[in-house]
Amino acid sequence: MDVQLKRGLLDVCVLAAIKNEDSYGYQIIKDMKPYLELSESTLYTILKRLETAHMLTVRTAEHGGRLRKYYHITDVGRARIEEFVGEWDEIMSIYQFIIREEN
């Protein structure tokens, strides 16, 4: 898939993975697995990018005698998901244009 397109899509996917409840790295990868294969290093980069963009916050909590990072979506992050869904109609109409029958 086109790198730029995939990057934008992955950002929203990760936001969607934490929108209902806070989640952690491995859980996000497992949740996304049926839809797309995500490597650890890719996820790390996305999480960093989203954190820098204030779309999520990070919290470190103890779990089973060790530390685990939990990611929490912010209002900016939720707005990004809504924006993406809003853009979807536009994307679909472009898609229709691309696949239209040749005359």
Binding site: G25, Y26, E40, T45, L67, K69
Partner: protein, 204 residues
């Protein structure tokens, strides 16, 4: 490979990173492995799922800008002791000319490549002009001087137009080749710095 081996190998390969960024990444992978262990996987299985340590390190270093790596390397070098500084100053007459030579060679390398590409385009342009000139010359000759000479001119025009088109695609191919060759010393330099870093790590 077990968990600690994996993290050790990864740490060695990410030596070019800032200290806190390195720790954060190592912690991230450590957490990822621990979460898999919790699911009942063995350390070996968990590490295997994470992937090849060389590929991971290459991907991470590929994402980080060269300028950041170099800056960090320079910062690390600030810790070197006075003896090293003295040695560096005293050996200045040796390494400085060598450095200049290396830079000159690199510069020459670029010039040679790009002159080559430039020449191709110039020759192509010459063919185009010659073709146009012959094309103009042909009808003039046919009507004023000799019909045979005119058609010879027309033939030349078509021949050179054909050559120009072929050469154009050749030039484009050379241009693309030159672009990738020009980029390769930069990526080599990047991996060289990283390799150096990894070696230092294993010595200390």
């Amino acid at each position: 490979m077990n968990k600690s081996q994996f993290l050790f190998e990864l740490r060695a390969r990410l030596n070019g990173l800032m200290q806190d960024e390195l720790e954060e990444r190592i912690a991230f992978y450590s957490e990822m492995i621990d979460d898999r262990l919790e699911e009942g996987l063995t350390e070996e299985e968990a590490v295997e799922q994470i992937g090849n340590v060389d590929d991971i390190a290459a991907q991470i270093m590929g994402e980080i800008p060269l300028s950041k790596i170099v800056r960090n390397k320079v910062n690390q070098k600030k810790n070197i002791n006075a003896g090293m500084v003295l040695l560096l100053v005293l050996s200045f007459p040796i390494w400085f000319p060598l450095l200049i030579t290396a830079l000159c060679l690199l510069f020459t390398f670029y010039i040679v490549i790009w002159v080559f590409v430039f020449t191709f385009f110039v020759v192509d342009l010459a063919f185009i002009f010659a073709s146009i000139a012959c094309l103009v010359h042909a009808p003039v000759t046919i009507f004023s001087a000799s019909v045979g000479g005119g058609f010879l001119s027309l033939g030349c025009a078509l021949f050179m137009a054909g050559l120009a088109i072929l050469l154009f695609f050749g030039s484009i191919a050379f241009f693309k080749g030159a672009v990738s060759i020009s980029a390769s010393p930069i990526s080599r330099f990047k991996s060289w710095i990283l390799r150096k870093g990894a070696n230092n790590e294993s010595y200390s």
